[in-house]
Amino acid sequence: MKPEEEIRKTRYKTYALVWMILIILTGMTLSAAGMELGRWTVPIALAIAGAKSGLVLNYFMHLRSERLLIFKVIIPLVLAVFLIFILLTFSDLAFRGGVR
């Protein structure tokens, strides 16, 4: 078996802990919804969702234990692509009335 193929067995305990944190974060996002956060509403919701995704990606999907460079690159890559699409689209939507 090649070095990168060694199966790193995750402990059940780790999974359970991650699950616990995910539930807590869900609770946090629920209570954040009840608060008056103004223009921080969306960023905070996305930050919590991002944290949850990070946990799923790294622990449940084992991204953390992948050794090859390509695995480390793909999620940042897809995020960058998505971000660019949204930002450039908003360069249109947010400035329809002209640049202030």
């Binding site: 999974y15 539930i23 799923v56 449940f60 939507l93």
Partner: protein, 214 residues
């Protein structure tokens, strides 16, 4: 500098192409497919963000009609199903076939439970006349029409992915039963797990964006 980092990639492998099976390659392929799925939903998230930006008040109003309790329950269901999925893979890695199968069945059950709740939610909305192109919906503000349009399409597409996932897991269950998936050959189950976690992650974003706008 470029050549330097390329030399890092310069792994003179053993005769890779002579090997019959390449688990890392199979995993890489699955991840690349997952990237394409992320952008499939990503396209819809672009539309969502555009229309929420243009109609913040309407989105707020429309969101209040969704059942937060059911949405939260569904979130917990999917998160738990991800736990059982990951544990199922861990189990077969340790040779615990029966446990792996039980956990896999739990995952599938949770997935179906999710779909049942979703179906119920949709059902109640449709009963109240809120569905694409309904007279009731068309009479509302533009932003609300868009909200529900996006709601049905995005949760519908997501639900379809859950359904496909359950079917795939069923196939994995059979393979486990036949011991085609075993401690020396876990990759199909792992890859199915990757797909399942993806479906969970999409919901992680759908949940606050549809249920928790206030």
């Amino acid at each position: 500098m470029i050549l330097g980092s390329l030399k890092e990639m310069d792994e003179v492998k053993e005769l890779v192409s002579e090997e019959v099976r390449d688990d890392t390659g199979a995993r890489l392929g699955m991840w690349l497919f997952i990237l394409s799925e992320i952008l499939l939903f990503g396209g819809m998230f672009i539309l969502y963000s555009a229309y929420r930006y243009k109609n913040p008040v309407d989105f707020h109003h429309a969101s209040r009609e969704l059942d937060v309790i059911l949405g939260t329950l569904n979130t917990i269901i999917l998160l738990t199903s991800s736990l059982s999925m990951a544990a199922s893979v861990a189990a077969i890695q340790r040779g615990q076939r029966r446990l792996s199968m039980v956990l896999l069945m739990a995952t599938m059950a949770l997935g179906l439970f999710f779909l049942a709740i979703k179906g119920f939610e949709w059902g109640t909305k449709i009963e109240h006349g809120i569905y694409p192109n309904s007279p009731t919906l068309l009479a509302r503000a533009k932003g609300e029409i868009l909200f529900f349009g996006l709601y049905y399409v995005m949760t519908g597409l997501h639900g379809l992915h859950v359904l496909v996932g359950v079917c795939v897991l069923f196939v994995m269950l059979i393979l486990l039963l036949k011991e085609k998936i075993n401690p020396t050959h876990v990759t199909p189950l792992e890859n199915s797990g990757l797909y399942w976690h993806l479906v969970d992650m999409i919901w992680i974003f759908l949940y606050p964006l549809f249920y928790l706008i206030s």
